[in-house]
Amino acid sequence: MQDHPAEFPPDNASQAPAVLPRIRFPDGRPEADQPGWRHAFPIDWGRDQVVSRRDFTRLMVLTGLAFTVAQFGVGLASLRAGRARPEPKALARVEEIPVGETVRLHYPGPRDPILLTHLSTGGFVAYGQLCTHLQCPVVPRAELGRLECPCHNGWFDMAEGRPMAGPPRRPLTRIRLEIRDGVIHATGVEERTA
């Protein structure tokens, strides 16, 4: 290919700088000094980040698939967790908890808070402290004979741990208790659905 004749210089030769940027902006400043929206809304087709219908559909299908597969993983994990039998553990001595009092302990692990209550009708009950709505810790209201979840005004009855009012629909996790020789032992965790 022969050189351009002098009176027909190549495209950019009429301008002062030897090498011009591919894009010439109206304010004359280089691309680095342009406002950020120019990168988001480029004029050149090649720089435009086009999301085609097919790309969008693929994203939606793959994301949905990932969530669906993850559901099975969650189900398997909870199955395995449900099969594990926690070790019995001595919680407290009977005389340590007066009638109507509630203490906060941990069972089966150190990160599983429970509430152990000496009922005014006699006997002991223990529930996992996590509300069955959104896992907020419930607080005892001895004067009402109830447990309250302050997050969304959920209420549980103290004797059975069943939901009475508010968003929670499932009863609290019950801790099976056994009293031997004046010592309260936790012997198991009972997840309840109704």
Partner: protein, 173 residues
């Protein structure tokens, strides 16, 4: 899309064709609020993209050359895109292909240098504060020294008087 402009509407039916100049910094795309006007890598500014165009006519008002046209029935701005369907297939744009006098030419610099030995190219246009460099070139006499075309100055010169005033007087004496 090509359209014709009247040179002197009051006295003549002479027209000149106007094609898109395919600016380096396309004003139509700069003002588009829907990000619908795009330029392909060969420097050709395309018609508005149908999924994005909101038919606001900002480009129609902003283009200093008056090129974009709003197609109301489509709700879409359409403009000269150098006949993208033809040029993709290696053909010349329709206007350049059919022009009998060579007023519109599509080809290489070597070809036009051979055809117009007494001309030089001019691709800078001054519209007031805005200077535009275009991909479509104008051929001007080679001995002219003006580096750019002062469009607004020329317009002010011809618009000193109302060109239709005379006609109106002739029609209704």
């Amino acid at each position: 899309m090509i359209h014709l402009e009247f040179v002197d509407r009051a006295h003549s039916i002479q027209t000149v064709p106007m094609v898109c100049m395919h600016c380096d910094s396309p004003t139509c795309a700069e003002v588009c609020p829907a990000d619908a006007i795009k330029r392909t890598e060969d420097g050709v500014v395309q018609s508005a993209r149908k999924p994005r165009c909101i038919a606001c006519s900002n480009c129609v008002l902003a283009c200093p050359f008056g090129v974009p046209k709003m197609n109301s029935s489509f709700g879409l701005m359409m403009k000269c895109d150098m006949c993208y369907d033809r040029s993709q297939a290696g053909k010349k744009p329709m206007c350049a292909a059919v022009c009998p006098s060579g007023a519109l030419f599509f080809g290489t610099r070597e070809e036009v240098a051979h055809l117009r030995p007494r001309s030089r190219i001019l691709d800078r246009f001054e519209f007031g504060a805005q200077t535009i460099t275009t991909k479509v070139k104008l051929m001007v006499p080679r001995d002219s020294t003006e580096p750019q075309l002062h469009v607004t100055g020329a317009l002010e010169a011809v618009q000193e008087e109302d060109p239709f005033e005379e006609i109106a007087l002739e029609g209704f004496p």
